[in-house]
Amino acid sequence: MRIAVLGGKGGVGKTVLSIALASELGAVLVDADVTEPDTPAYLNLERERDVTEVRARYAVRTDGCAGCERCLEVCPWRAVDDPIACDGCGACAIACPEDAIELRETELGRIAESREPELGLRVVHPETEPWAPELADIVHRMIPEDEDCVIDCPAGLGCPVIAALSAADAAVLVTSPDPAALHDYRRAEALTREFGLPAVRVLNRAGSDEREGFDVVIPEDERVLRAALDRDPGGLVHALREPARRVAELLPDGG
């Protein structure tokens, strides 16, 4: 089973819950936050192997350029000659009447697989430049083919989250009780519904009175913050073991 952990808003506890859940299920943890992967900040990772290289194309004008700027007209990002902005789509090369656009290739990093020795957890995580293009493709390449995994989604509901949901069998929706997080959470819920996925709904850092509409409620817990500050993966998983177990029980076939 593949489980996507998402929520819309950042900072609601997606990554810590993903770590606890993957640990509970004995599943591979996939860090789908390609531009800002955070799992290495919570875990003491020992690198095992490179899964694959991440390469990207970018467009540059060559000597044949007649200066008509047709390339820039068809590029929404005006990214010709700017490898950071260019997404390598090649529209400029098709449009150029002088055939003067060259698409160069560069290496932007790799996808790595590491081990967290204390938790016995395997983690697939990106190690690329933050401006890597085609984030959805990178997410798809990180998801193992024949193994159970927990996919920790980035904040927002963009391409990488959609890629994770399209590969997932179930979703865990996480929010905190504040109005902004709940607003984003409802959009995340709508997106998950579009994919027809079963979802476990988690309210994290709950006060005493809010719990309606949630399957699992996790009270505010200083131990989680302390474990994050001390980079103590064992303490983190210990503090979240009970809620992670309840989430696992509510997943189809117990995860």
Binding site: G8, K9, G10, G11, V12, T15, D33, V34, T35, E36, D38, P40, A41, Y42, V74, C75, P76, W77, I84, A85, D87, C89, G90, A91, I94, A95, P130, W131, A132, P133, L135, A136, P154, A155, G156, L157, G158, C159, V161, I162, P179, A180, H183, D184, R187, A188, A190, L191, E194, L225, A228, L229, R231
Partner: protein
Amino acid sequence: MTGGKGGVGKTTIAAHAHRLLGWTTVDLDVTTPNLHLYLDCEEEARSRVCLIGPEVDPDRCTLCGECARVCHSGAVIVGRSWDLDPGLCHGCGLCLDACPRDALTPREIEIGEVREYRVRETGARLLSGRLNVGDRRSRHLVRHLLDHTEDRPRLLLDTPAGAGKEVYDVLRAVDAALVVTQPTPAALRDLRRLLRVIRVARVPHVVLINQADLSERWTRRVEREVEVPTWRAPRVDDPLGSDELRDVVREALDGLREEAA
């Protein structure tokens, strides 16, 4: 206003900055826009945001496939029939130009909308980009907002979390950046990556360490690593109503003005 890691308080700080400056403000976190919930405001208008894609006239189309050959995103497929997946179209217009028989005409493909609010306290506008749920073209909506917002040069832009190409697009368009972070290992890691992007975009910036009293140790690490001025903001019970937080934001904005000068 930018912040790398989500949930560090970027939007709270953006709300304070809006109230201090009274500038037109744009919420560019288009997949999860929520700045309007942090400000007392009233919606005044909504407008659809569309890309221009192709529409086929079946009587003219001979299925020659020229349009599909120039379509780099694979949105146009020509076999025994002409077909468009509107969700894949990026609006480059190459297909429209390529058709030898003028069988394609422009059509609108909606990707989201812009909601315009009036903020009661400041009388200033808040523009909020909202991508349709499930659409993958967030970067196009960010681009639209960057290109179509008036009131320059007094503009406050709230970026999405992360440090990818959308954030780079915003950084390329601005004169200065207030970077919000928190004293935690994850936020510091994200800050480092975001600062690399900021340096590439060559944007003057300062760093505000929100909830600095969470950890003296990690606050010091942030201050040691960052090569620009930093400010410490405290943990407070009511972040939006806190005078103490507002004062730190004011100081950071003054410091940013000096950096940018």
